[in-house]
Amino acid sequence: MRQLTTFIQKEFMEVCRNNKLMICTIVFFLLGIMNPAIAKLTPWLFEKLSSSYEDMGIILTDVKVNALTSWEQFYKNLPIGMVVFVLMFSSIVASELERGTLINILTKGMARWKILASKGILLLVMWTGCYFLTYGITYVYNDIYWDNAIGKNLFFSALCMYLLGVWLISLILLMSALANHGTGVALGTSVVFLICYLISVIPNVEKYLPTKLMECSQIPFGRGTPDDFTYAIVIIILWSLMDVMIGILVFNKKNI
């Protein structure tokens, strides 16, 4: 237990001292504030556009902005956050393998699974913090300027996207055990995601795939209900657990 807590502590010291914690916080803070900001600016942009269109004889009707406009932006911007997150942390294990910093740790009697577990816990905490920072900021601004009540199951749909991030983290851990370089990990994670995305064009398979959860952005608009996502949620949780378990088994037998 002490090995695990010590190494988790080390991981947190690392993200604090190499600026990654701060950068992630700022990026997800910006992503959060951008959503209501864009919603707020939309009418003004339309006004600008329509006055120039009027000269050409086209009349644009006034746009109505509400909390849902901002939530729409939230789901549009989240993939950016995910890309940033994967990019920043894909080499969390690989950089240690490349440099050989784990050799000292392992020869001190560290259990290998605890290394992967510590990194997994750090990523989970980082993702949870970052994600709900974005969610919280968007929610608070929306509540001040408009009314969140018009969106249905806001928290549930946000939770779906959160789970998608958790799944990506489990893929990072699995790929870290398989690949030796950060680029390999980022590539492997993206390829799995892409394959899921491509397979999801098959109508009957779609509802079982993790990528199904991306559609949860439609729930607040009343399109689709939480029940539609039951299969995908169960599968994504099982899949994530499996990734971590396979990752640990592979990592245990890795030449370091």
């Binding site: 600026n19 950068i23 504030i33 900001a37 920043m88």
Partner: protein, 69 residues
């Protein structure tokens, strides 16, 4: 834009500007206080940081340019 409209967007604008400035300052400071980079050179990273859209410049630097410690 009228003064009224500007006043209305200030609660968005100020936090965004503050966050961007912090990000930029931290990144530039890191670039200037380090001699060696994983890839590229100092000029390149300063340019990337400055012209990078929103936060992409700093992120590219910290992912691809910053030397491992």
């Amino acid at each position: 834009m009228t003064v009224e409209q500007i006043k209305e967007v200030l609660p968005f604008l100020i936090p965004i500007i503050v966050a961007e400035v912090i990000l930029l300052a931290v990144t530039l400071r890191h670039i200037l206080t380090h001699e060696n980079y994983k890839r590229g050179n100092r000029i390149l990273w300063i340019v990337v940081t400055l012209v990078g859209m929103q936060f992409w410049g700093p992120i590219l630097y910290f992912v691809f340019g910053k030397e491992d410690e």
